[in-house]
């Protein structure tokens, strides 16, 4: 990402875009604002309607050409998909969304607290907060998921009643860890982006540190945090199929079960997984567009 910035600034400064030497022109990117935070949303939102149509055509037509000689026809595969659709979406995709929403909720609450911890003047708070943030930002999500699945008990007892912990809830916990760490960084970044003059003015008006944060600093951070926050929501939603590796019955697990029930014809693979691709895209693409538009709006206003 840093190299990409370098290219951009160099292109602007020296005008290498006009060169007639046989070199690759630097890649320039014309969406404004804090691209570092929103790389994923930028990438996703860049899809034009034309490339969407192309995308759909590849997903739908390619297999029909490739599998024309098979005796299990593409039409039959699509029919199977159609039959299983309510099951895959109604039970599978809905669980993905549930996991993403609950994870985001848990991760945001924990992340805000951790982010505030990072800027604490008290070292015993800021040090561990920083460490936890870095640890979970830089760990593979799947590894965190496995650790949480194995480390958490599958039930707990209060008095005489045994409460089972559903697997999806454990997955929520596992996915919350990296989300928490990234939200923590967003919060810290937003707070330090508020000019120090705001702190000094508040101090000289005898606001306590907590009052300064609550009344002056955080209200100014809120707007800046929304676009990167939504960006992370989109990334998280895309990552929810990871939990299928833990046997949780979300969209990918259910698609596999459905294909098994349809005798595992290889022709089923592309329609079923292609459908997952399309439904995730259909959900996340508008979020990415909305994120970019919000970001542009805030950039102009500040």
């Amino acid at each position: 990402m840093s190299g990409w910035h370098f290219n951009r600034s160099r292109a602007e400064k020296s005008g290498t875009a006009q060169t007639d030497l046989p070199v690759l022109k630097p890649f320039t990117y014309n969406a404004g604002g804090q691209a570092d935070n929103l790389l994923f949303s930028h990438w996703l939102a860049e899809f034009s309607p034309r490339s969407l149509a192309l995308f759909a055509a590849i997903v739908l037509l390619w297999p029909s050409l490739a599998l024309a000689q098979s005796n299990y026809s593409f039409g039959q595969a699509m029919e199977a998909l159609w039959r299983w659709l309510p099951f895959i979406v109604g039970q599978g995709f809905v669980l993905n969304l549930l996991v993403s929403v609950v994870t985001m909720l848990v991760g945001t609450i924990a992340g805000v607290l951790l982010g505030l911890g990072q800027i604490s003047p008290i070292r015993v708070i800021s040090g561990p907060s920083w460490f936890i943030t870095q640890l979970f930002r830089n760990s593979p999500w799947l590894v965190l998921l496995f650790i949480v699945m194995l480390a958490l008990p599958f039930e707990f007892t209060i008095g005489d009643t045994v409460y089972p912990i559903p697997d999806w809830l454990k997955a929520v916990f596992g996915l919350s860890l990296p989300i928490m760490a990234n939200i923590s960084e967003i919060v810290r970044g937003a707070i330090i982006s508020v000019p120090t003059g705001q702190w000094e003015a508040s101090e000289s008006l005898a606001y306590s540190r907590a009052q300064t944060l609550r009344l002056v600093i955080l209200p100014q951070c809120f707007k800046r945090m929304i676009p990167p926050w939504m960006n992370w929501y989109a990334i998280l939603t895309m990552a929810t199929p990871l939990i299928s590796l833990l046997g949780i019955e979300e969209i990918i697990t259910l698609s596999r079960q459905a294909m098994e029930a349809e005798d595992n014809h290889p022709e089923l693979l592309v329609p079923f997984f292609g459908f997952s691709l399309v439904i995730f895209f259909a959900y996340c693409y508008p979020i990415a567009r909305f994120t970019i538009s919000l970001e542009k709006k805030f950039v102009v206003k500040q």
Binding site: P195, G197, Q198, E200, A201, E203, S204, L205, A206, Y207, S208, Q211, L215, V216, P219, Q220
Partner: protein, 251 residues
Amino acid sequence: MAKSDWTPDQPLVSIRDVHKSFGDLEVLKGVSLDVKQGEVICIIGPSGSGKSTLIRCINALNDINSGSITVEGIEVNDPDLDKLELRKNVGMVFQQYNLFPHKTALENVMMAPIKVLKQSVGEVEERARALIKRVNLVGKENAYPGELSGGQQQRVAIARSLAMNPDVMLFDEVTAALDPETVGEVLLAIKDLAKDGMTCILVTHEMGFAREVADHIYFTDRGVIVEHGPPATFFTDAKDPRTREFLSQIL
């Protein structure tokens, strides 16, 4: 705030042999000055001479390495000092205004008395509106800082500070960031304050203003007070060559 045994005939702000370093750089090398109640003093001098640092030490925005600063008899350099209590009595206005951009002009003025001094909203609003009138901004109560000119923002900042009813006001180069045409309106607001007997400590580059409004002028250079005196003699009979050189460049 425990007023100790301070009485109004003693200096309201007393600075004694203050030293302050940022790392290896010593910016204040033994500064002493007194400000009596109702007095207006101006601190002038070349940039980097420690003027801003000095007044930021008075409300403990910067700490000092040695020496003593007292405000109404209370030692600012005391590690056990309740800084919030001190700051309730010391108002400060900054070069960059530092208004809260998410609050209207009126809210900027009202917030601290309500949240910090826990005064009632009705009483504070009445006072805030009077202050806004005093700095000549009637009609701008509901404007956000971003919608105001620099001079207007700075006058809101002055009103915001006055709303706390401070005993002394610190002005840190408050006109330095302003367009020339708005400097006058801010100086007028300060002059009005000074006339009403507010104790003011100003760091400024506005020599004409200093001459007109100040009771006493201090010239600082490289962390020490080189020369001081009432404006009548300071500008005409400067003794020290450094003062003379500075004045000849700036006047």
